[in-house]
């Protein structure tokens, strides 16, 4: 399954590259607009190692960011699942913070927490948490009557139990969203690096962009794709393992 993901990614990337090169040759564009295959190859040989390291660095932050964001989403989703005033308040807050473009928040963030790893983590988590939150909210606000009735009737219902029941009944959906959100954490970390860091692949992309070096960007995208496909695949496998272990369907 893992290797399938990787070669499927290779196919997709090859298709994308092919399209770009086709445009290049059909329109007769210079290497500045779209680098030549050999140019990309050369750039690749030069930068692949470095970029691979950068992506690794980014992956580390993304993973941490994802963990934070899943907890955050769980927390907000659980707090905001009820149709009460407080639930609605939490949701309004969560939604609004999300709507603010990170670039606009960045200055405020810098003032509040400075720059560095923490900001990077925070931005990654902020970008990643919201989609998870939406799913958690959807799942957590729908009762599972057949199971919950007993607990409610006998006065045994606690919020933890309610959350556990609903999570368990929607384990497949939750693991899909959580493992899928890895992608978002990744993208979020890259954005964070782009606007706020001095390390990671986002930072390298920024420099490549400033130098209008499309070849480097393509190499970076390739590295991101490969690493993400692997990480994503691993997450899905562990999602399945969780489902098996918890005895869900």
């Amino acid at each position: 399954m893992l290797h399938r993901r990787v070669y499927q990614f290779l196919i997709i990337f090859a298709l994308g590259l092919g399209l770009l090169f086709a445009i290049k040759y059909v329109m007769g564009l210079s290497d500045y607009v779209i680098p030549s295959p050999s140019g990309v190859w050369e750039t690749g040989k030069e930068t692949a190692r470095r970029y691979f390291g950068d992506v690794g660095n980014t992956l580390g932050v993304a993973m941490a960011g994802q963990v934070i964001s899943v907890f955050l989403a769980g927390f907000v989703g659980i707090a905001g699942r009820r149709a009460t005033w407080f639930g609605s308040f939490i949701k309004v807050a969560a939604y609004n913070v999300q709507a603010y473009p990170i670039v606009a928040l960045a200055p405020i963030l810098f003032i509040l927490v400075g720059d560095g790893l923490f900001t990077r983590l925070l931005i990654a988590a902020m970008i990643c948490y919201f989609p998870v939150l939406l799913s958690v909210l959807g799942i957590m606000s729908e009762p599972v009557e057949d199971i919950e009735h007993f607990y409610r009737a006998t006065g045994r219902m606690r919020w933890q139990l309610e959350v556990k029941i609903r999570a368990f009944e929607n384990l497949g959906k939750l693991t899909t969203v959580i493992s899928g959100s890895a992608t978002l954490a990744f993208a979020g970390t890259i954005v964070a690096e782009f606007i706020a860091a001095n390390a990671g692949i986002g930072y390298s992309i920024r420099i490549a962009l400033y130098q209008s070096d499309m070849g480097k960007i393509l190499v970076a995208l390739f590295m991101i794709g490969i690493v993400l496909s692997l990480y994503q695949g691993l997450l899905e496998l562990s999602g399945q393992a969780v489902r098996r272990a918890w005895g869900g369907s």
Binding site: M27, L29, S30, D31, Y32, V33, P35, G39, V103, A106, P107, F110, I111, D115, I195, A196, N198, Y203, R206, I207, A208, L209, Y210, Q211, S212
Partner: protein, 306 residues
């Protein structure tokens, strides 16, 4: 009377509508393009925009690009040529608080926290300056600059790169209102003349439609000349206000004054003159800094229209 069929041309700017594109806006609003039988669409630029690419893609006929962009594009075989040079002095300078430090010599940079945009041409320029002063990288602290100025505001960074004529004036004003003095560190004062914005077009356009190019450049430079003319100050500001609603009038007028100093050649040459020596130096710096592998013969790309 309006020409029957005006030729259409897209002009991709380097940045948002602001003081740095004053001449283009002036030419546009005062009908100088129409006078030349042209219908020009000015499009705003930005960091993700690349006029040189758009020339090749046929999405724009003219553009504004920085010298390093042009040289890099030439190095990669892009058929771009320079038809006019808008800034005689590079507006990219560093702001600092003179109360906190003095910069009279390059050596004064030693030990400072200096803001640079990694990958940007301020990095190239600063590294050149440091090399020139014999300051090694571990004798200063380079700070990666982003969208916002908070680190400078908070005093964590003492020298911060800005566009002298645009943000420079705004920051000067803002800090001034808080009672702080500001000064600017200009690389050109230390012999580093890295060319900034120029007007570019595709070789093909220059070769096949020299007349079109001539008319465009004539109109554009007329716009710049009029806009920079002190007697038109009020009119220039009025024009700018239509596009740049965010900047207050007093700031605009200060920006205009600064821009005038950067755009109008000191030696009485016409606005838009190409400073070939500066271009050669720029190319040389880029080679030294490893931005390009070898000389591209930048003079071949310079096609001054006048």
């Amino acid at each position: 009377q309006p020409a029957l069929a005006e030729e259409e041309a897209v002009y991709r700017l380097k940045w948002l509508f602001n003081i740095s594109v004053a001449g283009g806006l002036y030419a546009d609003t005062h009908g100088y393009f129409s006078e030349q039988g042209l219908s020009v669409v000015l499009k705003e630029g930005g960091p993700e925009r690349d006029a040189v690419r758009e020339l090749e893609m046929g999405q724009a006929l003219f553009g504004t690009a920085s010298a390093d962009q042009v040289i890099r594009a030439r190095a990669m075989g892009s058929p771009v040529v320079v038809v006019a040079q808008l800034f005689q002095v590079n507006p990219l300078q560093w702001i600092y608080r003179p109360g906190e430090l003095r910069i009279d010599r390059l050596e004064d940079l030693r030990g400072r926290v200096i803001g640079i945009t990694y990958g940007g041409n301020d990095e190239t320029i600063m590294r050149t300056l440091l090399a020139k002063a014999g300051i090694s990288e571990d004798e200063v602290e380079l700070f990666s600059v982003r969208y916002d100025y908070t680190p400078f505001f908070q005093g964590r960074v003492s020298i911060w790169p800005v566009y002298r004529n645009a943000q420079g004036v705004i920051l000067e004003d803002r800090l001034g209102r808080a009672g702080e003095k500001t000064a600017f560190f200009n690389p050109a004062d230390y012999g580093v003349r890295f060319v900034a914005n120029s007007v570019v077009t595709a070789e093909k356009t220059a070769g096949r439609s020299p007349d079109l190019v001539r008319r465009f450049v004539r109109a554009l430079l007329k716009g710049w000349s009029e806009a920079m003319d002190p007697k038109n100050s009020a009119e220039t500001i009025r024009t700018l206000r239509r596009f740049d609603r965010e900047t207050p009038e007093n700031i605009l007028s200060e920006q205009l004054a600064v821009t005038r100093r950067l755009v109008v050649p000191k030696d009485g040459a016409p606005i838009g003159s190409i400073d070939e020596a500066a271009w050669r130096q720029t190319e040389q710096i880029m080679i030294e800094q490893g931005q390009i592998q070898e000389a591209v013969g930048v003079e071949k790309a310079l096609r001054p229209v006048f």
